[in-house]
Symmetry: D2
Subunit: 140 residues, 4 copies
Amino acid sequence: MDTIVYSREVLYYETDRMGIVHNSNYLRYFEEARLEHMKQSGLPYIKLEERGIIIPQTEAHVKYESVLRYGDAFRVEVRLTEYTGVRIGYEYRIVNAETGKTAAEGKTCHCFLDDAKRTPVNLKKRLPEFSAAFENGIDR
Amino acid sequence: MDTIVYSREVLYYETDRMGIVHNSNYLRYFEEARLEHMKQSGLPYIKLEERGIIIPQTEAHVKYESVLRYGDAFRVEVRLTEYTGVRIGYEYRIVNAETGKTAAEGKTCHCFLDDAKRTPVNLKKRLPEFSAAFENGIDR
Amino acid sequence: MDTIVYSREVLYYETDRMGIVHNSNYLRYFEEARLEHMKQSGLPYIKLEERGIIIPQTEAHVKYESVLRYGDAFRVEVRLTEYTGVRIGYEYRIVNAETGKTAAEGKTCHCFLDDAKRTPVNLKKRLPEFSAAFENGIDR
Amino acid sequence: MDTIVYSREVLYYETDRMGIVHNSNYLRYFEEARLEHMKQSGLPYIKLEERGIIIPQTEAHVKYESVLRYGDAFRVEVRLTEYTGVRIGYEYRIVNAETGKTAAEGKTCHCFLDDAKRTPVNLKKRLPEFSAAFENGIDR
């Protein structure tokens, strides 16, 4: 699957006293885009949770390149770059929709866990019918 | 029980582009103080959750009186003002610790719910041994 | 002006360990809707800030009626109910878009301040050309 | 200077519906610890802002190793690892205070900017008297 684009505007309470989006919110923007990617891949995250699987974040990297301010329209371009059944990785680029400038780039990694036991799960074995959505979603 | 005092400093990310604590964070300060109140009453909230009870908020009122800025030390004075077994109410005053000025006043109401069924619970009947902590905690 | 409707879905990080939207986020939803109301009234908040005026919240009231969960589509119906030049008030209703159930109702009050001096301002005198947008926006 | 330790407990609203601290909050914990480090180095961040300097984040990396839950006591161990006058870098380890398990490790990089012009600043030249606090603070 190609890059998915998720768009919205910066909300007032996402800014801090520097007048810019607080650095922690970029991880939230990544998450919003990632969940949209899952939805468009045909596998909304909620379906996984209903089957007892959660996907906590194991790693995150953000490179902040230009600031976003209240009211700025931005888009997050998100790609699924790795899927092993056990682990999944995404890459992101946040772009100021008005200026076209890159606001941030980043990656996150996640693992699949059994929600009740909190132990690692291989999705290929546990829910093969769901696994395909990720396999097809990889942007090679 | 008397008023409980909960103290800390304003964190950087709690401010917004006006340079002051975002209005929504006062409800978070109330919550922090309320949970501290429960702890000091001998009934940490986690104990209730372990017994399958949650206490969602049913009402909140905040009157903002003076601003708080990054680094300001403040205290939240919290009192338990109502407890029926079904419902519980708290009142709060947030004070700038340096100036002594009231930053905000407010109240919240909550009900007891069975976490699994999400139905109302009378704590006096369900967990009488826990109910006493609230009964003794009321500031009359 | 009639009620303005602002719509979106609950984001994952807006939930807490009860599995529902954290109570403080309703004040954020109110803010998002209020700023949309200002925009549709022809007076985006950013224009006021550019002219040195801020509108901090002086009071808030929320009545929580039913829970919202991750992924729930909701709308905020927002009405401007009071405008004196010095003070401004809004009322809100948050509705679960799927079930039609009211999730919360509330009100907020705000005042106009000079951003540099942090002193009260009468917008009717200070920026009469902007004041009209609020006067016309009242839902009587 | 040696590692600085910043300690507190997980707050209720910092958890998400997985029942664990939301991944974005680790960047907030890093920030809290970093600002404490600056304070203990004799240069509270507020002093820099008063002199017209801000220190936005240019890069962040987080490796999540074990979960934190509501009420968990944790400490953030923070070290200043790089300071060039133009750029500054910190490393962090978050430890569950009860179990001693590492919850997360990470790094952040920041640059110095003139707040008004939003242009890069060399702190060694601009505020040499402040620069020393960072130079002495490096953990070699």
